[in-house]
Each structure stands twice: as structure tokens, then as C-alpha cells.
Symmetry: C2
């Protein structure tokens, strides 16, 4: 039986304020929760699941979860789940501690300037993971990586990609010597670049692009060649195209 | 004053059944509605807007809208708008009549096999428009292109890209002679392809990929090289990467 306090606690985690206060976030659904449990990237605090999900667990996982696992009924789960589909399991994990001594030298790093849409951000994290990018550096105004929609759309890539929130311009000024590419609508055409091993790729806000202060610190503006008439590309699509071109 | 019947009518258009019955769809927000009005790709049936939006119209547009334009109050607009942000304008357009004699010879055509997520589909339409793709051929089970979330996420590319719903395997069998590339997780690596002018690119369902029947009609399976560990790429991101590689 799910207590009123548990319900209140999990519902409160829909708000960044409480995620920050308790230092945790929520993941939903068998696929995501199983993956996060298996990767061991996040310390698990609680799992609320229906019998059906619990029955499918292997003994080792069941044992390791111990008293953190609470079996609930469908109608109880519905109270704490934020997505409409019956999800069978809702879990609370501790946020990851990100080592802020990250060195971008010799690597490709994504820099996000105020990405606002949680779905876009989650898809960018997942795309970064596909291309083996280990670190994303975000402006402080970028949407929270532990927002439930971000968490769901990362498809567990959250476990493998490290996200750093910081003052983007200060961070860029501290990390000189790595070429900084700004993705804009009027830069050099993204040509046949290949095998780039070290770069910072800056992706801007969906509506306003990259802020002037960040843009001024870029070494080169690049643009994905346009053949048709769309005004812009989705931020996650643009990220994928550039990462593929750079990694080729 | 918005009549009860108007409210009921527009709300009903959230359902495909009624969009089909009346042969219309809904677009919201100044940016999208203005673009759709300007492109003249869709016949406008009704515009419900707050004074503020109407004041910004030029005389020609105001004249051409005539009695189709109805000024409403904020609280009235909120009743017919499906998105949370105050949108200032909600418009009803007639669906486009798609000429089904489309010839894929000499062009790049996107084939979508049961794409289900409206946001993904809208982003794919927008991405196709960026790369100058004029036609998308969809399986009958692909989400409705006039679903409000699809319409909003196309960012007016809906006006320039033609979407054909059909039995995908029959259509492929009728259109032989154009090389068909299936995007899968275990095909030939998408290498340094370049300047491809004629192709069919097949993108599969988000969870299940391309169906067996469609896959059997493909000439080549291609895969976007993976450097990290994400299980898959978002369908719209994959579409963007492949279109960019083909058009280069």
C-alpha cells in the first residue's frame, strides 16, 4: 500500500526545486528503469512496481533492491506516474555527481546554449551517446536534465553521457585551444569534414539560436547546407548531422 | 462571440474522424498561421483570433479573409486552442489534395513505415523540407499528418512537402527501378555517399523498425555508424543524417 507521503514525495519530484532539494529524479517504465538498474550509473533509492514487473526480475536484482522495492497496485502506480501509458514501474534514483574537472582536449564536446524543449534535450543526449560523446556542457538556462520528459527521451543514454551545467561563456574562456564551431544559419557550409577528433560544437536555443556572447567566442560558424525552404532544422536533428559529419 | 457550435466544431477536429469528415485541420499560433496563409498552399476556412493578431495583419490579408475572420476574446480562444501557450490565433484550413500520380524517378523520396510519434513525424516533414524533398510516402498506419502535434512541429513545412498515405509494399512494387535503402541497425555503414539524386529512403517505426514485408523489398540496408552505446537513434535524427549524406 503506497503511503500518502510516498505519493506526495514522488509527485513533488516533477518540480526541479524538489529534485534539487532531495538530489534525486524519477524514471518510468520497464525499459528505462531496467536499463538504469543494469548500468549501475545511478544509485537507486526506491522502486514502485506492479507484481508483473517484479515477477520478471532476476534474483540478483531483486536481492539488491531489497527493501527499496515496493509492490503497488495499478491504480496506485497511476497516481505517481507522469506518463499516460501504463508503465508498470516508477523508480527514484540519485542524481549523478559530475566531475567538473572535465578536459575537452582531444575530444568532441557538445555545448548547448539554452536548449529549452525537454524532448529535444533528451534526444540530443541520446544522439551524443550514439556518437560516443561523453560530455555535454550546458548553459545554466538549459532545461534540467532530470526533467521527466528529458529522462524518458534519453532512453537510458543519461547513464552514459555526463551533463555539466555552467556559465557557458566563462567555461569557454577557461578552455581555450580547442576549436569551437557554432551552428548557425549563415556560416560556412558543413562540407566534407572527416575524422575530426577534437572540437566543441555549439548548438543554440530553438527559437533564438546561439546568444551573442557565446557566438563571439566561436572560432568558426558552420551551417548545414539547405536545399529546400524550411526556416530551420530541429536542434537534435542538426546535432546528429554535425556529429555524423565530424566523426566520419 | 464564439458560438457553442463553433467551439464544438473546432474541438472535434482534435479527432482524425472529424478531420476526415470535414476535410479540414487546425493550425495554431501567429507564426504557423501567418506562414500557412502566406504560402497559399491550403484553402483557409476560418480564422479565430484576438484583436492583437488582427491588428498586425496587412490590409490585403484582412480583405482576403473577409468574413472568415472572427475576432474572439482570450478566454474564448483558450477554449479552442490545444496548446498551452497563449496562441492569439487558431485557424481551420482545408486539407491539401495530393496528386497520387507522383513519380519517384530522378528524385529522393522518403518512405515512412508506421511512424507513430506526432512530434517525430512533424520533425521529419520539416527535415525533408530543409533538404528539398518534395514527397513523403507513408504506410497507412503512420500517424495522421493533420494531427495537431504534427502540424505544429512541421513549422509550416506542411505547405511544401506532399505526404501520400498508401499501402507501402504495393506502392514499392509499383515503383521499381529506383534504388530502395532501408535504414536498419545492421546494414552497410552509411559511408561517404555523395550527390545521390535518386533514391527511396525507408525509415521504420520508432520501436519496431521496418516491417519484414517492407524490408524484403529494399535493395540495400544502411546503418548510421555508431561510436557509442545508445541503442538506437531517434527517427527524425536518423532521417536528417541520411538526407544530409545523400545530398552532399
Amino acid at each position: 500500500m503506497l503511503s500518502k507521503n510516498s505519493i506526495k514525495y514522488i509527485q513533488s519530484l516533477q518540480h526541479k526545486k524538489f529534485r534539487d532539494e532531495y538530489n534525486v529524479f524519477v524514471a518510468e517504465g520497464p525499459k528505462l528503469v531496467n536499463e538504469l538498474l543494469n548500468t549501475h550509473s545511478f544509485v537507486c533509492r526506491n522502486v514502485f512496481a506492479v507484481e508483473e514487473w517484479v515477477d520478471m526480475l532476476n534474483d540478483a536484482t531483486k536481492l539488491s533492491l531489497g527493501s527499496k522495492l515496493e509492490v503497488v497496485l495499478d491504480f496506485e502506480l497511476a497516481k505517481i506516474a507522469s506518463f499516460a501509458t501504463p508503465n508498470n514501474v516508477v523508480a527514484v534514483f540519485e542524481k549523478k555527481i559530475i566531475n567538473d574537472s572535465y578536459q575537452p582536449k582531444g575530444r568532441i564536446t557538445l555545448l548547448l546554449d539554452d536548449i529549452q524543449d525537454p524532448g529535444n534535450f533528451g534526444t540530443i543526449i541520446r544522439t551524443a551517446d550514439w556518437f560516443g560523446i561523453t560530455h555535454i556542457v550546458c548553459s545554466n538556462n538549459t532545461v534540467d536534465m532530470y526533467n521527466s520528459k528529458v529522462v524518458q527521451s534519453t532512453m537510458a543514454s543519461l547513464a552514459r553521457v555526463n551533463v555539466i551545467y555552467t556559465d557557458l561563456t566563462s567555461w569557454m574562456l577557461k578552455n581555450v585551444g580547442v576549436k569551437k564551431y557554432a551552428t548557425t544559419l549563415n556560416g560556412n557550409p558543413l562540407g566534407n569534414v572527416k575524422g575530426i577528433k577534437e572540437a566543441m560544437i555549439i548548438i543554440g536555443n530553438e527559437a533564438n539560436g546561439i546568444s551573442e556572447a557565446v557566438l563571439q567566442l566561436a572560432d568558426e560558424n558552420i551551417t548545414i547546407p539547405k536545399w529546400g525552404q524550411a526556416e530551420s532544422l530541429n536542434a537534435a536533428v542538426a546535432t546528429g548531422i554535425i556529429l555524423h559529419a565530424f566523426k566520419q
